[in-house]
Symmetry: D2
Subunit: 297 residues, 4 copies
């Protein structure tokens, strides 16, 4: 299939490469030219502007609402260039509000819109092991299916309303932040009580919490390995903010999310904005006066 791909960041690069590998004809656009050139060597066509990207399905994979709006509504933006029947497969983690706005825009233009945010880090993107949460009208989802299949290990089709996929994605990220904060409080308390945090970690992750999310973030917190960032802290703040905005719009109080937001703000205020989002765990340590290296490993 002819597929367009906009956004060759650490995630997008691997995703676009997997489309090429799967035999699709891929035209790519990226703001900075290097990543596009790299993919061109593997068979991609380079588009000079978002508008120049072609294909029956156009994938966007950008960092936030602002970047996606720039690609859509800029002078040489995608919105004015897409043809009828084309499907916009929007895989960025963006707000429910923007997703609703794009749903309406594409609908009026006779185009398809599928929101399809993903769970997984760059290594999962490179290995076509992403979990993809897709929502949109059945025909559009159907058309985008082979494209998604080439990038993920599993596609969950959750609703005909695209923004539902965005909300589920934000909820998943919220639950990860709850794991981080919960572990941070627990580790701070145990460390101060003289419990060996490695023992705490072992008991938790080999009994009730034997999931990678506890193992990975528990290890990061114990080893204070917040750099290089797997997922940058300000992106975590952004997602928490989007979740709280949905809560505000729908009148849903979210006390855990409110605490997480304050953890993120305090982290940015204190100079931790370049670290991994798990570094919000430093706040619980700071509050408790646990300021030495927790673990020797």
């Amino acid at each position: 299939m002819d597929v367009g791909f906009i956004g060759l960041g650490s995630m997008g690069r691997g995703m676009a490469r997997n489309l090429i590998k799967a035999g699709h004809r891929v035209s790519v656009y990226n703001r900075s030219p290097e990543p596009a050139k790299e993919l061109a060597r593997e068979g991609a066509m380079i588009a000079a502007t978002p508008a120049a990207v072609g294909g029956e399905v156009v994938v966007t994979m950008l960092s936030d609402d602002t970047a996606l709006e720039a690609v859509m509504f800029g002078k040489t933006g995608l919105a004015s260039a897409m043809r009828r029947k084309t499907v916009h497969l929007s895989m960025s983690t963006v707000s429910v509000a923007l997703s609703e706005r794009l749903t309406e825009l594409h609908s009026k233009a006779g185009q398809g819109y599928v929101a399809a945010p993903v769970f997984g880090r760059p290594d999962a993107a490179a290995a076509a092991k992403l979990f993809i949460v897709a929502a949109g009208e059945a025909a559009a989802v159907e058309k985008a299916k082979p494209v998604m299949d080439a990038m993920g290990q599993r596609v969950f089709v959750v609703s005909e309303q695209p923004s539902h996929a965005n909300l589920i994605k934000l909820t998943g990220n919220f639950l990860i932040t709850c794991v981080i904060e919960g572990l941070a409080e627990g580790i701070a308390l145990n460390a101060k009580a003289g419990v060996d945090p490695e023992k705490l970690y072992e008991v938790l992750t080999e009994t009730l919490f034997a999931a990678p999310v506890y193992k990975n973030y528990g290890k990061i917190i114990l080893e204070e390995r917040y750099s290089p960032a797997g997922f940058k802290l300000p992106l975590g703040l952004k997602d928490t903010r989007l979740l709280l905005q949905s809560g505000d719009a729908l009148s849903v109080p979210l006390p855990f999310a409110a605490i997480i937001r304050d953890r993120f703000l305090a982290s940015v205020a204190q100079g931790d904005g370049d670290l991994d989002w798990a570094a919000i765990a430093k706040r619980a340590m700071q509050d408790a006066g646990v300021d030495t290296k927790i673990s020797a490993k």
Copy 2:
């Protein structure tokens, strides 16, 4: 080995039975006589008072600090009756403070003290599938090891200081409450946005949160199946209180735990004290005005 067992509640019954099955000579005490009689039919000896329970290792499995104190310090209590060298294997979920007090008491009396709280519900207790978190002096733990092995699928020896096992247990329960509250907030938000909660559940529990604790509590919340209680709400409040008391004693702020505490108090205040502790999820629904049956299943 000669083993004493005090406390034949829904957990203790299965645990004592597994000791008999493993070939130990077990004498049992329970405040109400029926459960003891039942075990007598399977080979246990009945002790008329806690003090009358014999054995090289005496197991206590009681509901809270008050119950354990009553058994220890009552007129015919265990404290005055235990012989030197005997090991008290204390498996209740009790406070760090009481555990420290018993550590000192037994030490002065030349007895052993092993704190060994468990993760697992009554069915796991019956099936000898408990996870046991043990701490105490090496010799005492060594002596109690065959007793623990007969009741659990795995024993984690975490420290020479008994109270460390209690704190780890409380931390594990705290993380479960964080899962419940996180899921409750997420489900309330999605439900109000019109997302099918079953889809949300599917995506979460088949991607990042593929652990039984998410599957079980997610299902309970979706189906509002809070009765009969697997673990009664006031016991969850008790454990949260004990965790916060440890935080207070050690000067460790615990903002998530503080929210959980308020959820428990509000639940008790509003008449949900007989429900499963997962019913704190009703508060997030109430706050959001999500008051109808979430899921039809």
Copy 3:
């Protein structure tokens, strides 16, 4: 002086009337015509559009950002019609962000911009007893001074940067919400303990908290007199939201404000959106299961 006045709501009406009384020549605009006609009978000129309002100083007194933006940037908006040297005296409680945007806009157009939000309810507006918090360039403030003097009992000039006045106003409203929530928690606790809330009220308001804000809101909460609303609950939510947005923009965690926000959202979700903003106190009562009439008065 020739003064324009846009926004004749419950506050603006009294304020415009005081300008007339003080001898200014006032032209008024209001979206619905009735209040303008009423003032015309007292000497005001009626402008058909915001753009048609004249004067050396133009006052705007609107309910929120959206209403002020509509007046400024609508087809017949004020922004395109104001002449050089004219001063826009912006008295609405709006966001720091909008205030900064208007500061830049007016500066480029060679006009003055003074942010001057007020403390006081409609009765204070009618009696020219408002407290006015003003910020802007000295010359513009100077020019607007007689206009402010005619409406308030005191003008605080706080900064040359207009948005500072907006932030101070939002902070004042935030502190009021803290008074409401603090009183609500205290009253819920005492009521449940069997303390006569009137005695609690008397002790508090005649010792350390002898300020009208405690007396008024304490009385409202004790008597559950949330209707008719002196200040509508959704306006309180709006101001809390604006404060939190400032905190977000500046990386300042605000845990009390986060709780207040959740109280407002829960109140809206449960149908209390038409009540006075003090009705967030109902949440503390609900959480505590204090559901009967607290006070007989």
Copy 4:
């Protein structure tokens, strides 16, 4: 009247002196002898033990539950020595639970018990300007009235149940902490926005918040004048803990109090335990990265 007085700390000293000045015959006991000797020079008799203190009314003014329990139940404690009909005027800020226990104890012994905690700092105690919140059976309150009148500017009789006075006192202290935290958050936000905190202070304390509690604590926070402590931070933590314990016992969630508790714990954990309790304001500054001197004054 013959009056006993136990506890000559910074508060008690001035209170006992005022009793002497008012013409009462006062016998005093204090753990360390110096303050007692000082009062002896002014006419007091010195008692060697709490039990040796005589009088128709015996005042206790101690720092916390533990100190009061030591005086009551120690070997030479007051409990065993008080005669029938004597009234124990208990003016310490202690827990509702201890107050209830003493109520029962004195009742059984045919003695009177009046709980009468105070609002006011040492200078108010010295000047007989305390606000006294009294509760107890009418006859006992009547008997203690002249004693209270000699120490306070006003006595509020709030209930026949002594512990009600204790709860009202704790509630008052809680509202003070809410003022401190609210101001701290507001000042952190404004400081970071570039608003002159002195202007913020002026606007707030000369409009809606013109009460000494805002003026005093606002000034302390602006000037970071946390030492010497007027009221030590751990005492504030103690009172917050007692309030939360009452909330726990009565199933009343107290979200503001929970945040205050965490502020106190973080302050102790980070070495601020010797400062004035207003130093919890440092946490909001720290979270916001506002770490320089806020005000030049």
